[in-house]
Symmetry: C2
Subunit: 367 residues, 2 copies
């Protein structure tokens, strides 16, 4: 029975617990605090940048994986040196940790990208603005998350502080029709499984809803998205689940937006929507088990995030919603915090989406 | 967030872990040993007949439930006296703990039963044998499990030891066409949900396979089984999941065989086969949450038990079986021991059953 250690105790680690139990995998979590979402399986609490603490956690662990991409490379290298399998590996993680590096790697793979450039100075920014309509996106290469570290600018002066700290990634402001995400899993032996591409609906830079599969997606679009997913998974030698965030442009092209080298919010919908959910698949992939089927269980599935608080006292309001699946991350309430999600599946798109929204609304504050 | 304590650390407690995590329920287990199947959530290890040990475990727990029906009534009463909710309650459990009492209670509810009698002496046995074809079933009222404590007899001398220990339940040898099981959930407020009746296939007195729904079941049969389930759940005031084992006779009647006052092997198939699996439903029911939908996700689902050993090294043989769902109970191998199960779902009955059997076979010893 493999022992898998997860660095990070957020909801991604938490949602691995159920599948790990059923697969007979001993799952252990290196959590940030005793209150972390995945606290039930925490065998260590500490700072993931502390090499000694992580090495101590990894003793007796066969495979290390991640709840987030922020583990520094010296910690990853120390784990490898100690003989622990690290999945995904450091080079794949590096592409997710640094957005400039990500753009370089994706460009090398020949993938369709927004126009982008590295800016080291205000002059670089001014030039890129002039070439791209005077309004572009600036991103800090590291540390961005859920809309943080991303800003739309019209002048270099808006990112003076970022430039002082290091290079900045600039991207054209893509005229996109909608956002999609392609989930992929790859095991060390090379086998790859792709789920049907999903549509993601953001609100304030944060994922709010996901629909599986993306409505009105042509076979050509589905194939193109899956191909992009496979190319990245193979090209970077990813092990585990990878999420590729995509733009679909108004002229029906798809461009790669960002990567997440782990299970991702856009894949929560697969827990009930697919024969194999992303958390089970991630465990299968990193344990080098045969990958599970990614077929959909029903024609449509919709996931809606719950923000702020997900009070169990409000479950009673789900009386007329017996098909809604609840996922409560066990987090302390805080305004705007992702604290859970709900999922519905069914044969009618509108019905599935509206039922999920109605269920999520139950947890929203009344005033 | 309710805190639920499970007495008993077997696979039933283990399979509550995943749903508890997703519902945001703090699940704690009172396990028999540190090696128990549900050891991951064990907060106490001890003897469930030890009142003080169980009371110590229950401190801080809102609701106590069970992995088995063997907890003595003095322990249950002590829990109630300490202000802990016990679900199902002592009177419902009593009907599952003592098969003679069960027969009395079911007879009082007017349910269709095999011909039965209480035998206190060899004369009672001889008389019952004479009245029922000379071949009957004898059962010890307590402690029977998976075929233990059950024997077919043709002479009173075969159960002399049992009679010396106390009364014995005698039942006609039912000429049944097949065995069925009706799963039901009831919450304290009285709401009841029934799943479609399943067919169970036994081997050596132990459940080997389950098919959801029971093939070739007429609407009349489905309704009759669901009615029996509802009558028992209401009549005994059950809270949580209840399994009613049924005989379907060659002349298309159904008779109540036995009760399990908890999630049951016949209900494992609902994890993937139904929108709401029995373990999630049990937690919803005892937490007095709205019950989840018991609709099937696909026309057919089949579960096949794995006995002896479920070595994770053999998962690789599932390469061509990407739709099979694995449930590994994390138990030490032992000949004949239930150590896991596999489930398949789909649109064609034969395909679903054969795929599940093929997957289970992967774990069987090669010689």
């Amino acid at each position: 029975m493999p022992v898998i250690g997860v660095i990070g105790g957020g909801q991604l680690a938490r949602m691995m617990i159920g599948p790990a139990v059923e697969l007979g995998i001993d799952l252990r979590v290196f959590a940030e605090t005793v209150e972390s979402s995945a606290r039930d399986r925490a065998t260590a609490v500490g700072d993931f940048r502390d090499v000694d603490a992580v090495l101590a956690f990894a003793r007796g662990v066969d495979i290390i994986t991640f709840d987030h991409e922020h583990v520094p490379s010296d910690v990853l290298e120390a784990l490898l040196a100690a003989g622990v399998a690290v999945r995904p590996g450091p080079s794949a993680l590096a592409a997710a940790q640094d957005k400039l590096h990500m753009r370089e790697v994706l460009a090398d793979l020949g993938l369709p990208l927004p126009v982008w450039a590295r800016a080291d100075s205000a002059d670089d920014v001014t030039r890129f603005l002039a070439e791209n309509g005077g309004r572009v996106v600036a991103k800090t290469p590291r540390g961005g998350y859920d809309g943080k570290g991303v800003v739309v600018i019209t002048d270099a002066s808006q990112i003076t502080e970022w430039l002082a700290a290091g290079p900045v990634l600039l991207e054209e402001l893509v005229d996109y029709a909608r956002e999609l995400a392609q989930l992929v899993a790859r095991r060390p032996s090379g086998d790859i499984a792709t789920w049907p591409v999903v549509q993601t609906i953001q609100s304030g830079g944060v994922c709010a809803e996901v629909i599986l599969p993306a409505p009105k997606a042509s076979q050509r679009l589905m194939d193109a998205a899956a191909d992009i997913g496979r190319t990245i998974a193979d090209g970077l030698g990813v092990t585990g689940v990878l999420a590729v965030e995509l733009f679909e442009t108004t002229d029906e092209r798809i461009l790669v937006n960002e990567l997440a080298m782990r299970p991702h919010n856009s894949g929560h919908v697969t827990i009930e929507g697919s024969v194999t959910g992303q958390f089970e698949q991630h465990l299968r992939a990193i344990a080098d088990m045969p990958l599970g089927s990614t077929e959909s269980r029903q024609p449509w599935a919709a996931m809606v995030n719950v923000f702020g608080a997900m009070d169990t006292d409000r479950y009673g309001h789900l009386n007329d919603q017996s098909g809604v699946k609840i996922h409560n991350y066990g987090k302390e309430p805080r305004a705007g915090r992702k604290v859970g999600h709900v999922t519905t599946v069914g044969t009618e798109l509108d019905d599935v989406v509206y039922r999920a929204r109605a269920a999520a609304t139950i947890f929203a504050p009344a005033n």
